[in-house]
Symmetry: C2
Subunit: 300 residues, 2 copies
């Protein structure tokens, strides 16, 4: 079987891995070349500069997931409607170079007349399911735009987006709270008791519009040290996400993402009786590899 070059081309970063025929990672690379840094018409050149050497063998296939398939990306791969699994995604690949480089489409779903979208997370979900040997479940991908994804019988049934990471960054950098919190470059480490206090306040509060102001007033009255405020604010926004997506106490969730973020979500969820499994960045490579296997079956 051929080598796979698996690429995750997002808004702000570009990552790639070379996988052997068993799906084992041979080599990984990361570049600060998210699609926002790439002009229209420059994608092929950037790809060549970053991964050209990996593509020299004529038998190598490359699959690209993420925002590279958006209107502002390399080649638009229109969204697949949910429910969608490997088959739906595989049949909607957008081929940049026939048989060699394909862009994986994102997914869309709709609830109460409001569309929702993802690009790249679907591959992480498929990969995590494979790694964990699961076919159904609730998966959470914390991040700038967190995704809560429901999978049934191997297909993504529906999902919801929460702008949690973006709200944190907006409040941290651009709001009145930025005057009270330590500057970004001196961000202190995790302060778990303050994080927990933020989670608890958010879960019992009505809205982040209100609870966020407490980061200001607690500082104003010297009730919380400045160094604790970033962890407290992180607890407030993550707690708000959990409040808005209530789970039964015996629920089980798969968390996918970076260690820093998934540890925070795991702490918040387990404190409320939710059991958690975690999958890391390898889920992306596994998802693209599994998708490639589907293609082999279809194009012998």
């Amino acid at each position: 079987m051929q080598t796979l070059v698996a690429v995750d081309w997002g808004t702000s970063s570009l990552r790639g891995a070379r996988l052997d025929s068993t799906g084992a990672v041979l080599e990984e690379r990361a570049f600060a070349r998210g699609i926002l840094t790439v002009g229209a018409g420059e994608f092929a050149d950037v790809f060549e500069a970053c991964f050209g050497d990996w593509m020299k063998d004529a038998g190598t296939l490359c699959l690209v997931s993420g925002m590279a398939g958006s209107k502002q990306g390399w080649l638009e791969a229109p969204y697949c409607s949910c429910p969608a699994g490997f088959d739906e995604v595989a049949s909607r690949l957008a081929w940049v170079k026939a048989g060699r480089i394909a862009i994986v489409p994102g997914l869309s779903c709709e609830r109460d007349g409001i569309p929702d979208v993802m690009r790249g997370e679907e591959i992480q979900v498929f990969g995590a399911l494979q790694l964990l040997g699961m076919h159904s479940g609730l998966l959470v991908l914390p991040g700038t735009h967190s995704k809560w994804v429901t999978v049934r019988d191997g297909k993504i049934d529906a999902f919801s987006t929460f702008m949690t990471g973006e709200f944190y960054a907006l409040l941290r950098q651009h709001s009145i709270l930025a005057r009270t919190l330590p500057t970004i470059d001196t961000d202190p480490g995790e302060d778990w008791p303050s994080f927990d206090r933020g989670i608890a306040l958010a879960l019992h509060g009505g809205s982040l519009l209100q609870t966020a102001f407490s980061a200001r007033t607690l500082a104003l009255f010297d009730r919380m040290p400045q160094a604790s405020l970033p962890s407290f604010l992180s607890g407030l926004v993550i707690g708000e996400e959990l409040r808005a997506q209530p789970l039964p106490a015996d629920a089980s969730v798969v968390l996918i993402g970076s260690d820093t973020l998934t540890r925070r979500y795991e702490r918040a969820l387990t404190q409320h009786g939710v059991s958690v499994q975690r999958a890391g960045a390898e889920a992306t490579w596994r998802g693209l590899w599994a998708l490639a296997q589907t293609l082999h079956l279809e194009t012998p």
Copy 2:
């Protein structure tokens, strides 16, 4: 009775009015000299440049409300704890110049161990109560930091802050939505159906973290014209504030603030059966004038 110079010195603006002994406004002035533009030690000079001519008569009293009483202001006037009415505020004035210029303290309250604060809004509340002949009620002051204020027997009993206007500005200017919305300088007028749609979505949603993303996806799928998105987003944030502060259907609210903002809140509230009265900027002058009358009684 003497002339009163009433000054509202906020974070981003400085407004003043000269009132005769009956409380009638003789003249008004506004300056872009909020406290953020004034260095430590420069407050007296800025005041003199803006209102010095009004203070020439030795019998003239000046009362200053707003952020001028904060740590970063002219002279710190420590917060009065709620419940607080005219008497409590009058006894805690911070005199810049004895008998001539005083800073009005803000109020603080506390719920579940979390402090809340206001500076300036308490005077608007007292003024609106006088103008409307009320002694108790629920008053809402929309703005960068909206305040919901409960008054009982002429005293402010408790209040809650919502960072509604600030969240709107953050999302409008600094978030991913800024790429989809029209630029600020071409902001279109009110689009009431889109505003109403935002309100309805927020009231039935779980959190602004989630509903805000719909401003992106509705645009992405051409379900809402770009020119409608600012009104829709305004509905989302105001609706979020109302969702978090549920009111009985027969509730009655006094709205205090600018026409543009109070009209939006009035529309949202009345659609849900809440009856609304409105008071404008004159509430500040009336509140400071009424406070001045209390002082005369105390210092004959």
